[in-house]
Symmetry: C2
Subunit: 154 residues, 2 copies
């Protein structure tokens, strides 16, 4: 158990693709779907993490807002889903997906303990935590799945 006690975020961390605020939403959605990611990490021009976007946030942009408010309307619109999606995201960038209010960013330093990573994940309800030193470029990310595997010893 001594070995387990020494595990830090850096060791759990794996390389993770990133997007910028100028990345087209369509490209971001393709990355999410193609790699089966739980969320996307947005970085600034210096490679520093600025936001972690859950996949459902990307989806929100593609759904006409009247359908989000009233699913019955979505039911009667039997359009080709791909067409609706493409129309929704055309010419839009990740910048429009970013939350307006200031939220706690799910980021930990490389030296964070497993328990610290878990606490950040639980509190922010983010299935993905970015790993970076304060004000420094992204090192990698830890998924909920990787964390649970470690905690459960599976």
């Amino acid at each position: 158990m001594l070995v387990e006690a020494c595990v830090r975020a850096k060791e759990l961390s794996a390389p993770f693709p990133t997007v910028g605020s100028d990345t087209p939403v369509l490209e971001a959605a393709r990355l999410l779907a193609g790699r089966n990611l739980p969320a996307l990490i947005v970085v600034d021009e210096g490679g520093r993490p600025t936001a972690v976007l859950p996949g459902t946030q990307v989806l929100r942009m593609a759904i006409p807002s009247y359908c989000q408010d009233d699913p019955v309307l979505a039911r009667v619109i039997d359009e080709a889903a791909a067409d609706v999606f493409l129309a929704g995201v055309a010419d839009r960038t990740v910048a429009e997906l970013l939350p307006h209010e200031r939220r706690e960013l799910p980021v930990v330093e490389p030296g964070a303990t497993v328990l610290e990573v878990a606490a950040v994940m639980a509190r922010t309800r983010s299935p993905l935590v970015a790993v970076a030193d304060k004000g420094q470029p992204l090192i990698g990310a830890i998924t909920l799945d990787a964390l649970l595997d470690r905690m459960l010893g599976t």
Copy 2:
């Protein structure tokens, strides 16, 4: 595009493992981690979906609450993560993970359109939508990933 327009939830739906409110949290966590699921579907004794639990919700239970409130405390506790997790979930069941407040359940009927599924997913911010007829047992589930694959044609 005519074919695409006819796609319904039933066709996007895939079999999905379920838990009951009496399932031990440890078993639920192992299911989540072992199968890399985005969430768990809780069913009643009749097999009807009663809740969709995001993975981070399961994690919350395993973290001492003082660590959730203050990540600095989590940092100084350099205990074996597996020990903390096992102590946290011992003798607890899924019933304790269920939200107290009444929330919209991410469930669609088998005849729901792709757009309707997307709208429910976006509004509830759930990466998983259960498929069932009203008051009937679970048929399957649609993940965000499966939905995006369909919408993007990947």
